[in-house]
Symmetry: C2
Subunit: 366 residues, 2 copies
């Protein structure tokens, strides 16, 4: 009997897939059995996660008749690069992985993004399964098929859309998650409330303490609600026209912070939090948010233990880094801003001086 | 007035695109104008092709209001690798190329495969245009959306399906094509006859001398007929289930030859020719082809100036290299063979001793 607490379906026609959420799933052969037909599967993970979960995953798959080819990478955003990707290809070649061999990502966002890109491009595409072990990956990066590696000068610049066939979110893995990583995941949870769900924002106001003490029920609900939002957005706009871009609230500023600081010095969720404050501040300067709304954004992110202040890179450096954002068109920066709490828009139609004023007034005072 | 001699459409729903065939097209603003809206385009080419055609292409695009970002790579199959791909990404970043900037491949199969893979993965996919300047690229590799780079131990192991929005085959570029490259292209032309068109085989028997002296009418017909076959196969089986795999006649043997010899020492078309002889010999040993059919295959490829004899790598080495082929399943080699001239099949269901006998008896006697 399997401990699946919730199932959220991502509706993409003949590429639809489920997100299964529950404690202990990754080690449960019954959870795997309906999805696993292959004689072997490559498991991409990292040096931190492997000692915790690789053995249990291998045994569960073994009980389904699937042998694993383990591929253990160094841990960290700075390894989400072309060199590490090539090492994965070498191991896939060594392991005799062919066009039908699934690649399973066991880890957080970095592992999922890189393993997903390997799955998108190995032999022009092989089956892919996400087993996210961080809150950030469970609520956001494992769902929706975005895969990528970083370019030295731009985050996620090289990648592909490649949907998984299954996302298996084992909530028990959050027990071992460092507090800093838990907070980073909450940045993306709060994001869903800010861009499209004020009722969820209210729930978060009340339940952040429970989430921080890792209350299982609270976490399960936050993950489920986040996945429902992500699934709905992705089903309506898989390839990122406008709607899906709203999921990037805080990310244009955030990617600039991550790139400037050197990959891995800010966690992705931390940079998104500081970027979300900037997006809220800019929205206020455009007359869209009240000061009290901005204060609420700061309070929520602060209560989650996230940094609120972006570093002082200088306005010119921010502009230059942000012009490389994938939403940019002919060097003009398009931003996700808030018309109101719960209502995000993507726009390049703002006065340049408002962006400059926001960057000047709201970065680097910490 | 534009010199478009033929148009072949690849029918893929909302991703359909035309192949325009004619002399002088790449330098003709009128040929480009209906397809070119972008303010800038990246042009990926190589050191051999750039001096011949880059200026003319840039001027034609300039007349349409499109500035080019030239990216000139070293020439040769051994540069179809991860390092060269990364250099393309660096130049795209330097050139401010964003998600809407088309990438244009100006060159042969190597340039098209690598530029296409860059287009498939830069910012998770940007528009792509093929301007093939070799016969092989015009009749085969520029059409159908297969893009790839090589792994050191396996050809085209890393790639994606990414259809171009336009293929512009300028037949005047064949005037400058080295004779060895012309012959290599004829290997793929002959392939279409062997796998699905005996009337075209008859035409080739009669017209190979005209093709070799670069008779414009003969070349234009061979290109058009080849593109019609490719377009039909790709429209029916874009992602390579069974039908599209038949286009790989001679390629499983051929890729082994290319990989073993070191990329670039055999031209792709040369390796395909020698591989096609092996496929025909094996088909004869299975009782499917008559000796006279095999003789005809040898005569056609030989008349085109192509090598007929695969190198003596040893049976074990061939088997090992071929087991990495993308058609292989769990290490078992699937092959494109000929039930009859004009009738290809893909099968893994053959006695191992027949493959071994073919490799033993038909390689390395030159």
């Amino acid at each position: 009997m399997s401990a699946i607490h919730a199932r959220v379906d991502v509706d993409l026609g003949d590429r639809s897939y489920p997100i299964l959420i529950g404690p202990g799933l990754l080690a449960d052969p019954e959870a795997w059995r309906p999805w696993m037909r292959a004689r072997r599967a490559a498991v991409v993970t990292n040096e931190t996660v492997a000692p915790l979960y690789l053995k249990a995953l291998g045994e569960a798959l073994g009980a389904c008749g699937t042998a694993i080819v383990p591929i253990v990478l160094p841990d960290g955003e700075r390894f989400k690069d072309a060199a590490t990707l090539n090492s994965v290809f070498d191991r896939l070649m060594d392991g005799g992985c062919d066009r039908r061999t699934p690649i399973i990502a066991l880890g957080g966002g970095v592992v999922g993004d890189l393993a997903g890109f390997a799955a998108a491009t190995w032999q022009r595409g092989v089956p892919f399964i996400q087993v996210p072990t961080t809150l950030l990956a469970q609520v956001d990066s494992s769902v929706g098929g975005k895969t990528a590696i970083n370019h030295p000068r731009g985050k996620n610049m090289i990648g592909a859309f490649h949907q998984p066939g299954l996302v298996l979110a084992d909530t028990a893995t959050l027990d071992t998650l460092p507090a800093r990583e838990l907070a980073a995941g909450l940045a993306e949870v709060i994001k869903y409330g800010l861009i499209r769900d004020t009722a969820f924002l209210d729930w978060l106001d009340a339940n952040l303490p429970a989430l921080l003490r890792r209350d299982r029920e609270a976490l399960a609900w936050a993950i489920r609600r986040s996945c429902e939002h992500k699934a709905e957005v992705v089903a309506r706009d898989e390839r990122e026209a406008d709607l899906r871009e709203t999921l990037n609230l805080g990310h244009t500023f955030g990617h600039a912070i991550e790139t400037a600081a050197g990959y891995g010095n800010w966690l992705h969720g931390e940079a998104v939090a500081a970027g979300t404050v900037l997006a809220a501040e800019m929205s206020a300067r455009l007359g869209w948010l009240a000061e009290s709304d901005v204060a609420r954004v700061r309070r929520l992110l602060g209560a989650a233990g996230l940094p609120l202040e972006a570093p002082a890179l200088g306005t010119a450096a921010y502009r230059d880094l942000m012009a490389h954002d994938k939403k940019a068109r002919d060097g003009h920066i398009r931003l996700v801003l808030l018309r109101a709490l719960g209502q995000a828009v993507v726009t390049g139609d703002y006065p340049a001086r408002v962006l400059d004023a926001t960057l000047e007034e709201c970065t680097g005072h910490a």
